[in-house]
Symmetry: C2
């Protein structure tokens, strides 16, 4: 049993790393299994299809990222301090990958949204759920900031969407220019979008 | 000669449409030629490689988009009116594609930036040049708006970058949610990012 779940984790880990590096479409099951060091025959024991594997990769990544977001956004400090902390952690995460392997890998969800959302409905729906959840989490903090009079924005939900869109847009440029520093202005942009006092 | 350039245009048109629908990595030369209705042998008469074709698709698309941006941003009206006009045209363009084929295709440059920037340096560099040019064009208008006292932002270049990032982020969500309406809040977000009076 230990070895079985180990093989599943190896496939998931290899798939995530390959998807981050080269996208989903160009990958084949044989290549994923080779990178994972598991026999190709075992793939379909764990995953019904390549699409099912991609969904599992997305779910595992979101489970980890969601924990981080909850920890930061439900943590100590004023609402704006917590939101700032989220951006700082995002920048630090992209910087750590860049320092380790020389490239900014960007946002797995944003990458797959642009690569796949017009191709597979199950992946599109899963990514919609994830970005809905991100907007909801930011929205809760923005609402709290507004109640305290820290921000002046009136449509708090639209402002939360704009903040998440700004994050995705700047992460795109951090990846394109292979420069984690591109994320540094995020906080000032976020304050502007929220009409911070 | 007429037929020769016709075949090149057919390949370019088919490639652009396939790349918009399914990305670059998953495409093969044979498939592109089949969609273009030209013999596979003729492909390498026009293009050295699939990468060379992708660069030609990007160049052709940017030449057309650049003309549109110049027309709008150098056109009539105050700086902010022209910038608003650019966003309205962008939304109208995404809406027209959506009305025609049922899907928001998003931004070809943003799509390729996330799919390819860590895989092919020539495409990365070309996309960097394009986004640099977009930021430069927005920057000129923001500078003009600042000189008139219409916006309060101090770092006009960083603000121009934030505006282009907001555009890419919101276009990502328009594609993911297959909803051109997602672009409607762009203008208010832009005003906030610029500190418009």
């Amino acid at each position: 049993m230990g070895r079985t779940s180990d093989a599943r984790q190896k496939i998931l880990g290899a798939a995530r790393s390959l998807i981050e590096g080269r996208g989903y479409s160009a990958l084949g099951v044989a290549e994923i299994c080779k990178a994972a060091g598991v026999p190709k025959g075992s793939f379909y024991y764990f995953f019904e299809s390549k699409e099912a594997l991609a969904l599992a990769v997305v779910d595992e990544h979101w489970a980890a990222q969601r924990r981080d977001w909850v920890r930061v956004l439900d943590g100590e400090g004023s609402p704006l301090q917590r939101l700032r902390h989220l951006f700082e952690e995002t920048e630090a995460g992209q910087r750590a990958v860049h320092d380790g392997c020389g490239t900014v890998s960007g946002c797995l969800f944003g990458n797959l949204a642009l690569e796949l959302s017009n191709q597979t409905e199950p992946i599109r729906e899963r990514l919609q759920d994830i970005f809905d959840a991100q907007v909801e989490m930011v929205h809760a903090v923005v609402t709290e900031a507004r109640e305290r009079g820290d921000v002046t924005v009136t449509d708090t939900r639209e402002a939360a969407r704009a903040v998440v869109a700004q994050l995705e847009g700047q992460v795109m440029f951090a990846k394109l220019y292979n420069s984690p520093q591109r994320l540094t202005p995020l906080w000032d942009n976020c304050l502007a979008l929220l009409g911070a006092r």
